[in-house]
Amino acid sequence: MVAMFVVAACGSSNSGGSASCSESQAKTATSASACGGMSALVAAAKAEGKLNVIALPRDWANYGKELDTFAAKYSIQITSDNPDGSSQQEVDAIKQLGGTSRAPDVVDVGMAVALANTNLFTSYKVATWDDILAGQKESTGLWFQDYGGFMSVGYDSAKVPAITSLDDLLKPDYKGKVALNGNPKQANAALNGVMMASLAEGGSLDDISKGVDFFHRLKQAGTFVPVQATTATVKNGTTPVVFDWDYLSAAHGKDVPGWKVFVPGNAVLGGYYAQAISKTAPHPAAARLWEEFLYSDEGQNIWLQGLARPVRQAAMQSKGTIDATAAAALPPVNGTPQFLSPDQATAAKNYVVAHWDAAIS
């Protein structure tokens, strides 16, 4: 630190060991070392003093702790806008506010939105870049997956019988109790819920129609409710059976003691979200430091404590830096995980947009 202040005071910038990171450098830095190293990045971020994030619910994947820890560790004030917003609203905010001091610095988006908006992002590779598998990142760092999990059916075992197969949900025991987390035409989690049902009911990653049929049958059997499942509806018992990502579902255990999470062995559908830094980030150094923090062992373990599976989980397991207690608390998954390709996701979306409303009304 002392050395850095001396260098800064002398105003020399291009000497070999320069450890400062100017604003223009921070804007284009594609790694911490391109910004003079970690300590220079930290200093530049502290000088900016602020970070704008968007659409990060505090109870989603333990983001509350993630935000608080970062803010305290680096004395950076975080503005968290529209916490319940969607991925599309995140990129819309970049488009509408880009260039102003209120624009989002970083986004956490579903893959469809990440792939469609790479022109809004800037390349950055976190220090732990090599731990992320090649299929889970854009090669130059325009986006890189952060955490994910498997699609599951969560249920309150005190209110409904144990679920051992999706067909159970057609029984009268579940009348008026089954819900999705969102509308599959809009929400990624809900679209994957329908896709998981399709896999379980004889469809494939290329064919979501079996899933739409399944929900049509649920509707006819009177078990499907059109309310969006939220923490409130789960707590109050309106939606005691919910299709959702296992890490979000497991978090309901805090409010509902008998909450169980079931992942059908024949339909293990994985999904990851991705981080990206906005090209027009008003706090470029803080944005980069935020990513470094999220992909550090500390940041990854905080996600894990929220029952999300961090993207570096395998690497951290082999290095022994993983929070073993948190890892053991993850819902069990048996079966071969499957992942939607961008093309398959598009095809699924097109089918759902055209057929969903008719199927469940």
């Binding site: 009177g222 309310v227 309106t238 759902v352 009304s361």
Partner: protein, 292 residues
């Protein structure tokens, strides 16, 4: 009076009377005309900003047609029922003491409830009469299962209509009460002294006087329900029965169904429907107020 006075006082002097209305016109231009124009123009452009009629053509998609029908039915039912029940309630208040406690309570409550909507209102219904709600569980344990034939609270027409009436009736009370207050008891006495009975009074005096205000309330209630979004979305998230929800769907999809031009086309459709209803209203208004 002014017509007589004007030529003498003003002569051919340049009139500045219009200045008073400038702030209003400016406001209307900025917050009504401009946004409507932007939306209407946007409906003719695709994602790459090239001219297209596809957005409007897509309005024929089956789910938009269904939403249009559902939205219009829900708005129509809640406007008619809300206006009728609100008018009856207003009449009940007016016949009571003008400074009475009941009147003051109903007016304050209406002022609050007319603005009570959105997620809070939907959740209030879910938590009370919903399938896991207190009222339902109580009724069910006493042998009365009002969801035996399906959960109608989550059906667009029944569910939304019931929930919307919760703010539609108070709104009608607020807009209709002043009209009722304007009816003078002397008119009734005049009718009676001329040999008319209650029917004659309502048919020829009070009815025609109140009908324009009633129609105005009806139109306001229709537009109010037609454009409501948050309440519907919190109650019925799947199937998107309301057009406003379809707009949100096309604007905020994170799975790639992002069609901003199409969203604007749906908005144009809503503007057209409300315009048609407004034209119908002005025609009726003209006929009913002709004799006044």
């Amino acid at each position: 009076m002014t017509k007589v006075g004007r030529p003498i006082l003003g002569g051919r002097r340049f009139s500045l009377d219009w200045i008073g209305v400038v702030p209003f016109l400016g406001y209307a231009a900025l917050f009504l005309v401009l946004p409507s124009a932007i939306v209407a123009l946007g409906a003719f452009f695709d994602a790459n900003n090239s001219l297209t009629f596809d957005n409007l053509a897509h309005l024929s998609r089956s789910y938009i047609v269904k939403s249009t029908i559902d939205t219009t039915i829900v708005s129509g039912i809640t406007a008619l029922l809300g206006a009728a029940l609100g008018a009856i309630l207003s009449y009940a208040i007016v016949t009571g003491s003008p400074t009475g406690l009941l009147r003051r309570i109903v007016i304050s409550a209406s002022g609050v409830l007319a603005q009570f909507g959105g997620v809070t209102l939907a959740f209030a219904f879910i938590a009370s009469i919903g399938p896991a709600g207190l009222v339902y569980l109580f009724a069910q344990s006493h042998g009365f299962d009002y969801y035996a034939h399906g959960i109608w609270l989550f059906e667009p027409i029944q569910g939304l209509s019931l929930v919307y009436l919760y703010f539609q009736i108070p709104l009608m009370v607020l807009v209709f009460l002043p009209a009722l207050d304007g009816i003078k008891p002397q008119w009734r006495e005049a009718t009676e002294s001329l040999g008319g009975n209650t029917w004659h009074y309502w048919r020829h005096v009070a009815g025609p006087l109140l009908f324009p205000a009633f129609l105005g309330g009806l139109l306001l209630l229709f537009a109010n329900a037609f454009s409501a979004y948050a309440t519907a979305n919190a109650l019925i998230n799947q199937g998107q029965p309301m057009l406003a929800q379809q707009i949100a769907g096309a604007l905020s999809s994170e799975v790639g169904a992002y069609e901003p031009g199409f969203a604007k086309a749906i908005a144009v459709e809503m503007i057209v429907i409300v315009t048609l209803v407004t034209i119908l209203y002005t025609q009726l208004q003209r006929r009913t107020s002709r004799w006044l």
